[in-house]
Symmetry: C2
Subunit: 428 residues, 2 copies
């Protein structure tokens, strides 16, 4: 009995899914005991040449109609967007008793809990392996493979564009703008790159991973989000000198003050496994109480890896497995308060541009001391900065509120020439 698939959205991922299902048809029959066949498709323009023959598939102008069609068993939603047609299609499929597979991180981050409740009430599954970290089967790992553990922390390199840019800046000493332009030429960054470089994409993904890890309702609004555009080649150079690499990480952990979720550039020790993940690769690290640290890495985007993840969800459906969407029944997902970043505790890297004159260091260290921030290392560089010099320091663990208080005082010093650059140091 064939599993009949309707695909909504024929972009590169949709075509990748069609290609994979065709090229690996025989293998999938062996692995699932039945064929997985694309019988219906829907997209905006029926007549566009996609280089793929969709003539044997039923065409629907309206994917919502396709979702309700009796000749479709499963809907694969690849339209995108957190709501709108994408959400309508998924709700229509679930209402018709059909499993849904999606790569739509925005929809899952915003509406995942409600969709999961509807799907579980209908007894169908909602697969979204492709929504986080591309081809890496991290949703399955957290929901199933590590299900015996209380997860202490989950973090990762969740955006390949940012990791490509930061890797290139570190390796070549290049500036952000130049590397971004190069990434755009190579197709690693969009013409409007803000969704990636401002950390928004990674924020969606860490919100989903946090839900899986902690059994909480996805809370995108609770993710403290900073991008990478303020990182300079000075920072990547100093990072190397101090034994770090700069990575944009998404991090989630449960604290006494609630769920801490944050996306921002981090200084990670060069010896940490995740520091070795370069270019467009993604990596997710989970820390479980019994399994300890586990790392999963691979390609986080692209037609092939994303299709691989979509098809993994289809294989689960074809094999008859119905799993709790976020690892626990959706109705039991907890609403947990977001921990304020002001209560974050960690070490910090601070870079200042100052007037190169006596007394500056004394003012800076006084401001830190007044805020109870303890300095670990302090380096002054008289690089070629026109009339200024660089002061770089790292701190011992301190509260973020104290750190910000000190930075406010420091920024107001006459001898400090521009806004201080602060990058959090992660203990991994």
């Amino acid at each position: 009995m064939d599993l009949k698939i309707g695909i909504a959205g024929l972009g590169t991922v949709g075509l990748g899914v069609i290609e994979l299902l065709a090229e690996r048809a025989a293998l999938l029959v062996e692995r699932c005991g039945r064929r997985i066949v694309v019988t219906a498709v829907s997209s905006r323009d029926r007549h566009r040449d996609r280089g793929v023959d969709i003539g044997a598939m039923q065409w629907f102008d309206d994917p919502r109609v396709m979702a309700a069609d009796a000749d479709v068993d499963v809907i694969v939603e690849l339209i995108g967007g957190s709501g709108g047609v994408a959400l309508d299609v998924c709700n229509a499929a679930i209402a018709a008793g059909k499993p849904v597979v999606t790569a739509n991180k925005a929809m899952i981050a915003h509406h995942g809990a409600a969709l999961a409740e509807a799907a579980e009430a209908a007894g169908v599954s909602l697969g979204y392996e492709a929504a986080v970290a591309g081809g890496i089967p991290i949703v399955k790992a957290l929901r199933e493979g590590l299900a015996g553990n209380r997860i202490e922390r989950v973090y990762g390199i969740l955006n390949g564009t940012c990791n490509y840019i930061l890797s290139a800046m570190s390796d070549n000493g290049s500036d952000f703008d130049d590397v971004l332009a190069e990434a755009q030429r190579l197709g690693y960054a969009e013409a409007d790159p803000s969704f990636d470089i401002d950390g928004i994409d990674a924020a969606h993904k860490i919100a989903i991973l946090a839900s899986l890890a902690f059994g909480t309702v996805p809370n995108l609004a609770g993710v403290h989000t900073e991008g990478i555009s303020r990182i300079t080649s000075l920072d990547t150079t100093y990072a190397a000198e101090l034994g770090y690499r700069i990575k944009l990480l998404g991090v989630a952990n449960m604290t006494d003050h609630g769920l801490e979720q944050r996306v921002h550039p981090c200084m990670v020790p060069q010896a940490a496994q995740i520091a070795q993940i370069e270019g467009v690769f993604n990596a997710v690290v989970t820390e479980g109480d019994f399994v300890d640290r586990t790392m999963f890495c691979g390609r986080g985007a692209g037609a092939g890896p994303t299709a691989s993840a979509v098809v993994a969800d289809l294989v689960d459906v074809a094999r008859g497995n119905v799993l709790p969407t976020f690892g626990v029944p959706a109705g039991q997902l907890r609403h947990v308060q977001a921990a304020s970043m002001a209560r974050h505790v960690g070490a910090y890297y601070i870079r200042l541009r100052v007037i190169d004159q006596p007394g500056v260091m004394a003012d800076v260290t006084a401001a830190l001391g007044d805020a109870q921030v303890s300095v670990k290392a302090l380096i002054q560089h008289s690089h070629d900065l026109g009339d200024g010099a660089s002061v770089v320091l790292t701190t011992h663990e301190t509260g973020e509120a104290s750190m910000l208080q000190a930075l406010k005082v420091i920024a107001a010093l006459d001898t400090v020439l521009e806004a201080p650059c602060m990058i959090r140091i992660e203990q991994l």
Copy 2:
């Protein structure tokens, strides 16, 4: 409705499973919708103090009787050994219609296909996540998460003892015997270390991974197996000089001549992700045609990580998922001929101890040329080797038969003082 577990074997892993199921009982109810309760145990000595209260569990002197007991739903086999009681217990459980979960790599490598056929005929699952790479959910990844891909190659660091020893040799320039003794003191190596250091443990694991990756009957006898005891501190030093690290890898890939499975020390490029995996950690890399390269790393042994894997299999059972044991129905697993190592193609590192006199290099290079082996780099070192010098060379890709032919001629030269050391260079 509780899932009632009977555990056969109360060593460190068995006690770890009892501890995990007790400590995470509430979490597991949320995740599975039912309790997972150890109701019965069997081990050799009932009265030994294990530091764990087993008073509430039914005791069985004979685990085969426990396997047939009506008050046990699932058997967890942690006795060990490829056959004997362990195999009897699993067969008894399957005959009684009960799922089996095991950490027994020897049993799965030797009898996995027959056990899987029996389990699938009985409609029960056979879980063995804990048999490969400890806490890393790699069985689930290959069987489910990457199921849309034709796997091109799978390889990994599958033995933490060997990786600890090789890491320490590389980092400290120590000799094998000293590091082994240290590993034994630290509990990372057994008193009789041969199962680990001779590559036998890793051979079991790559045989299981190959079965999952290629849909073949596990073929332990077809694994070409070499250990690490012949590696010297000279080799780790030269490796670093040449841009490599030495790792014991298990590698499996399908060739035109059959399934190549091998475990041996490898020179891996320092920049390869797997070169960064140090100490007792394990890592598995899969290369799929759509997903490309994916790496999974974590702890490969120990009570906690192994218990995590055992419980992941129990969670699958508790959730009602029945999966094809090796990714395809066991009756469809193919018998594929083992590719002879003589047909292996790759690059090689060769280290020779020679008499430090003119003409030696000419003899060595002539032997290589006669066998059509092309030299990539050749370095002569007059280290403190008594009356000798070291010659180290690397080759371009060549057939292993040619390489062995050349080595035979080289070993017979009067100017070569001891058996050549050959280490394969992996393209990763």
